[in-house]
């Protein structure tokens, strides 16, 4: 027994090393959204192009991605081509133009292409605040009942789509195989 006790510090060291090693691969910036499992908050916001005032009822009804973007956000430019690709596959993407200048936003979509079925113009960032957005880009999966299923912080790319987001969108994959 006393001899076994000699190994206690070593055991403690190994345990601590394992704990710290695990910490290396954790991402402290990935926060679970407080909104997951809850309905998308209500809102009344203008559509970017038509200036028509839209509410929550107008946009829910089928599974969709809600993508928070802005022209001041560099990473949004990075993910933009992939969003165009998804939209071409038939994924419904609602844009939330977050704390942005509307004219600049329209110009950006004209230059780079428009992947959004609709774009809500949240110049004050108030819907963003209700959704718990803290930066751009962020992408929410909202199901047909309007309930938030998942939040992705950062750029959406092929890998994120295949490994996580596509689970909520079964059809587009099939159509792309048929083509």
């Amino acid at each position: 027994m006393p001899r076994l006790r000699l190994f206690l510090p070593l055991a403690a060291f190994i345990l601590l090393s394992l704990l710290l090693f695990k910490g290396l691969s954790l991402d402290p910036t990935s926060l679970p959204s407080a909104l997951v499992g809850k309905p998308l908050p209500d809102f009344e916001l203008e559509e970017l192009h038509s200036s028509e005032v839209l509410s929550r009822q107008r946009i829910v009804g089928e599974p969709m991605l809600v993508n928070i973007w802005a022209t001041w956000c560099y990473s949004c430019r990075v993910e933009h081509p992939f969003l165009l690709e998804l939209a071409a596959q038939g994924v419904r993407i609602i844009g939330l133009n977050y704390k942005d200048d509307s004219d600049k936003a329209i110009g950006w979509l004209e230059d780079l292409g428009d992947p959004y079925a609709l774009t809500l113009s949240d110049t004050e960032g108030m819907l963003g605040l209700d959704m718990g957005v803290y930066g751009a880009p962020e992408t929410y999966v909202v199901d047909a009942e309007g309930v938030v299923q998942y939040r992705h912080v950062g750029v959406v790319d092929e890998q994120v789509w295949q490994s996580v987001l596509s689970a909520w969108f079964p059809q587009p994959k099939i159509t792309s195989v048929l083509q």
Binding site: K99, G125, L129, D130, G132
Partner: protein, 184 residues
């Protein structure tokens, strides 16, 4: 010759005077610069809000010191200059002025940003370890210390003699006293 020396000395004095003046100027300039820097740094983070009541202002400061900025994770919203922190400060001020209680404001923030947004999270299954961990650790340490001390006490304290040892001792003593009597 003497006249020349006088002239040189006075020139040197002039230079000395100039040097002092120059030094004085530099110090003043540096002071002014550092004051400006402090003023700019202070202005960078804090926007001003007007409060209708002093207690509201006090609550604003204590709440903004307790709410964590979601973007820059190791700063409170009072410390942070991120746009989201500014929004939250704005919202905090609005809610305080509209008469919301501290609990209402905190649950409003938690509903949007999760328990993460509080530096003093509420007690639930996720945070139980956080709240009771220190107490648990203290108890474990005290227990370990008590066990260690008792072990050491047992090792150093003389052991009680067993019945056999007492018997042997008694025999030895009667033998010794018998010998002494015989010698006497």
């Amino acid at each position: 010759m003497a006249e020349r020396i006088v002239r040189v000395v006075s020139a040197a004095k002039n230079y000395e005077c100039l040097a002092v003046r120059f030094y004085d100027l530099v110090v003043r300039w540096l002071l002014a610069c550092s004051l400006c820097a402090v003023a700019i740094a202070a202005q960078a983070v804090i926007e001003t809000y007007e409060f209708s009541d002093v207690t509201l202002e006090r609550r604003y400061h204590s709440l903004s010191d307790e709410l964590r900025c979601p973007k820059c994770q190791n700063q409170t919203i009072a410390d942070s200059n991120a746009p989201i922190a500014k929004d939250l400060r704005f919202l905090l001020h609005e809610q305080l002025e509209s008469g919301a209680s501290d609990d209402e404001i905190l649950s409003f923030m938690v509903a949007r940003y999760g328990e993460f947004v509080r530096y003093r999270p509420g007690l639930d299954s996720n945070t139980a370890l956080l709240w009771y961990g220190p107490l648990l650790l203290t108890l474990v340490t005290l227990a370990a210390l008590a066990m260690h001390l008792r072990g050491r006490h047992r090792a150093t304290a003389p052991a009680e003699p067993t019945e056999e040892e007492r018997e042997a001792l008694r025999a030895q003593m009667t033998k010794l006293s018998g010998e002494r009597e015989r010698q006497a």
